[in-house]
């Protein structure tokens, strides 16, 4: 069948319309994708070192960590479940996550599923004025201690 000029223009019209609609849909999707996001929280000051006894594990709510102290120094265990981000609480000598029942040992190891990864360790530091701080955005390995 011979393509007439009218058919050609019509098809071009449909093409333009499709391209424009597709682009507008993509534009909408791009609009919904934010260009700036809330920054990760900075360091949180958590008081002086002598507030935490040797062998203790203390819940620091505003930093969402448990601060521990052993013979080797201070460490912080993230109180965010590695399964889907709920908040495990210390239950006796274990962390229990209320959402889906994951359990972790006192050192963060997984004791029972559904979580498969141990709780993260978070950086603990000492600021110039001698106070301790934790920084959620900096992860450290399980051996890390602030002496």
């Amino acid at each position: 069948m011979k393509l007439t000029r009218r058919d050609f223009l019509t098809n071009l019209g449909y093409g333009s319309f499709l391209v424009a609609s597709g682009a507008l849909a993509a534009l909408f999707a791009r609009f919904l994708t934010p260009n700036i996001v809330t920054p990760a929280p900075g360091p949180v000051e958590i008081g002086s070192p002598d507030q935490y006894a040797l062998g203790s594990l203390t819940h620091i709510e505003n930093a969402r960590v448990y601060l521990g102290r052993d013979e080797r120094g201070f460490y912080a265990i993230s109180a965010i479940c590695t399964h889907l981000g709920c908040a495990p609480r210390l239950d006796g000598d274990e962390f229990a996550c209320p959402c889906h029942g994951s359990r972790f040992a006192r050192d963060g190891r997984v004791l029972s599923a559904p979580a498969t990864r141990p709780l993260d360790r978070v950086f603990v530091g000492r600021s110039a004025n001698g106070k301790l701080f934790v920084e959620r955005s900096r992860q450290v390995d399980a051996d890390y201690r602030l002496v």
Partner: protein
């Protein structure tokens, strides 16, 4: 099995099978009602998008608009289309009203639809004003302050009405939240319902008004396909025009409202400039409440001033000079007041 059946598509169902060609003539309607509907759809769609970023609190409202305007990808386009869609809607609705008056389209059985139409005009204007307030920039804030304080001028019930609308003893977070609620939900619900009702009633009243036929005349019709075709062309062209309007003239936004800095340049939204002008010369109750109400009452009454002679669906028919003359006077007075307000 056929997946696509045109006669079952909603667009198909929404259009009548055929409409008289005389009523669909471009020089008869100028497509103004349709343009108003299209503009409202554009405004609605972009408005939904804007809600994902807009924060209706005094501290963040202005900053969130700046964010939309400058930082969000295509945010300026989205907001611009919302703004220009709204302006085109106001203009189209007003001109549509004028067209109906000048062609006598309100004649029975369409006089009830006239009232729905006037209600839609009021909704459009309030929609526009509430949207203007949401900017929370310097101009909008003071216009909001003045506009709401006018309510207090109403004798006896002023303070009660003020609180019912503002939600507090003065404007602030509560007021902004309420106007946001009205803007995106209350007025939207009323507007969409009004538009649908207006269109449904149009079909029930026998479609667009048309002249009475002579006995030997036969009526010409255009098909549903032709009607839809024209709608599509108009929509595409108007949409493209809105986009270019947006890109060339970005939607305005001033500096954040600052109560301490005092008033810099307060300007009512352009549709209420004439009220702002009146407020300079006559008492607030008269300028801000009674005068607009009087104009509205006049407009509502226009069909009932018609002598009901011949002249249906004819532009500027002499037999209907009264409503036309009144509308012209209203238009001239309001335009003159607005222009003088801009020039002062």
């Amino acid at each position: 099995m056929k997946f696509w059946r045109k006669e079952k598509s909603i667009l198909y169902a929404l259009h009548p099978e055929k409409i008289p060609a005389s009523g669909a003539r471009l020089t008869y309607t100028f497509g103004l009602g349709g343009i108003a509907v299209l503009a409202s759809l554009v405004t609605l769609l972009t408005g939904v998008a804007l809600t994902f970023y807009y924060v209706p609190t005094p501290t963040d409202a202005h900053a969130s608009i700046i964010l939309i305007q400058d930082v969000v990808s295509f945010g300026a386009v989205m907001r611009g289309l919302h703004y220009w869609g709204a302006q085109v809607m106001v203009v189209a609705v007003t001109l549509h009203l004028a067209r109906v008056v000048f062609t006598g389209g309100y004649r029975p059985p369409r006089e009830f639809n006239w009232l729905i139409g006037v209600a839609l005009l009021v909704i459009t204007l309030v929609w526009d004003f509430t949207g203007y307030v949401l900017r929370w920039d310097d101009g909008a804030y003071w216009a909001f302050l003045v506009g709401t304080n006018l309510l207090r001028e109403i004798p006896a019930y002023g303070e009660t009405i003020y609180r019912a609308i503002v939600g507090d003893a003065q404007i602030g977070a509560n007021a902004l939240l309420r106007f946001y609620g009205w803007h995106i939900f209350g007025l939207t619900a009323a507007g969409v319902f009004g538009i649908v009702y207006h269109l449904w009633r149009l079909r029930k009243d026998g479609g667009i008004s048309r002249p009475v036929l002579d006995e030997n005349e036969t009526r010409e019709f255009i098909s549903r396909d032709e009607l839809f075709f024209r709608e599509f062309i108009t929509s595409a062209l108007i949409s493209a025009a809105l986009v270019f309007l947006t890109l060339i003239f970005p939607a305005p936004i001033g500096t954040a409202a600052n109560l301490d800095a005092g008033v810099s340049d307060v300007r009512a939204p352009w549709i209420f400039l004439w009220v702002q002008n009146l407020l300079r010369v006559i008492p607030p109750l008269w300028a801000g409440i009674i005068a607009p109400m009087f104009v509205l009452a006049l407009i509502i009454a226009l069909p009932f001033l018609d002598r009901r002679g011949p002249g249906r669906a004819i532009w500027f028919a002499r037999e209907r000079w009264k409503p036309q003359a009144i509308l012209v006077v209203i238009a001239i007075v309001l335009s003159a007041l607005s222009v003088l307000e801009v020039w002062r």
